[in-house]
Amino acid sequence: MPPALPGARPDFIQDIAMTNGNSEHVTYRVKHFDPDRDQAPRWQEYRIASSAGMTVLEGLWQLKETQAPGLAWRASCRMGVCGSCGMWINGKARLACNTQIAELESSFVTVAPLPNFDIVRDLVPDLTPMFDAHTVVLPFLIRSDRAEQESPTVEYHQSREELERYLQFSYCIKCGCCMAACPTFATDALYSGPMPLTQAQRYNSDSRDDGFGQRKTVLAGTAGPWRCHYAGECSRVCPKGVDPAKAIQLMKRELVLDFLRLRRHSRPTDLVEKPEGIKRRPDIPEAPARTV
């Protein structure tokens, strides 16, 4: 066993670090691509020390510090919140910060950029097509009371049941893992893909929204949900449990009902009545001035 590095965890923790009898080292197989030098991506192998609870992202940091200073990837929060570190890890789209090396149950960690997107450099995919498709489905509340939306005076009413109709879909962190896993998106560049469609359904099923008619023009077209044939891979890989496959099927039902003129069109919810005669408690500070 190599001597413990300064500041390393105690031996007994290192002993339980690796499952399945693996050594304390793992081999990283990393896809590299330098647009100024390489004609095509190439693989490179590195051996690194691994410890209990270490994530694939921490392994990449170690690699960068010790062996591959030029290696590029995206990451920020390190806690599965920002959606930056989606990568193709051991044959599956996952968040590098949310995947422990031990859970891969292998002494090889294969890391590549998310497929179905062009490679900008090394592990960095160009997610522009996903965000373009996201923009097209109008992922925001659409209502006629523009002035109220720009300068809110009170809140919109929404019951717990109404919230639950879209809450699951609002957990999306736009990591793109679902897009990399979708077999339809793999062969059809015109398909919007699971993330944008889920976000369209998120707003379509929000009781405060009145934009179904506008979004329908995109959704009923060739980029819409009819390209999806329920391979379900998007839901299997989604690190936030958003279940895009479910959102897309529910959206298809809405479109069918709308086509048959059976869709219930309910008015978007009203504003909550402004409470009267209420004073702010003196120990609660004023809201800060608006910045936008």
């Binding site: 095509a40 950029p113 062009d118 809450l167 077999p183 099923s205 391979a231 936030k240 279940d243 479910k246």
Partner: protein
């Protein structure tokens, strides 16, 4: 805006067939597409063979003689299996696309339970039913006939 000269990385057909650790539903998806293409191929062949009738009885009998024999019988049986799977799985997909059997939106709490788990009985039922049809069809093709 940043001008990105990216390297293409779309999986293409490899995205249907391999290259990853896929789930059961992905294989049903691929099988559905392949059986669909198989049925389409059979349909074209069928039109070509039956259209020979327009050229007289002799042409028709020649064409029929060309597509008889054990190899074609096995081929027809494979088409029947493809039909059984494609039809029954198709009904499952129609139900799912109408939002039947996928469940309602829920608050995602780890470990996540997705619509794939909710519709699993439908998928298992569809595959079992297709298998039963394939067996009965096999008996009809090779034993009772």
């Amino acid at each position: 805006m940043l001008d990105v000269r990216g390297h293409p990385n779309r999986l293409g057909l490899w995205g249907w067939l391999g290259g990853g650790r896929w789930g059961t539903d992905r294989y049903l998806y691929t099988l559905h597409r392949l059986t669909g293409l198989g049925l389409l191929g059979y349909f074209v062949l069928h039109i070509i063979v039956t259209s020979s009738r327009a050229f007289g009885q002799q042409a028709w009998e020649q064409a029929m003689a060309r597509v008889s024999g054990p190899l074609f019988l096995i081929g027809e049986y494979l088409v029947f299996i493809a039909f059984a799977f494609h039809a029954i799985n198709g009904i499952r997909l129609v139900l799912i696309e109408l939002g039947i059997g996928v469940g309602k939106p829920i608050e995602p709490v780890y470990p996540y339970r997705t619509s794939l788990d909710v519709q699993r009985p439908l998928a298992v039922g569809a595959v079992l039913l297709a298998a039963v049809l394939a067996v009965v069809g096999g008996l009809d093709f090779f034993v009772w006939h």
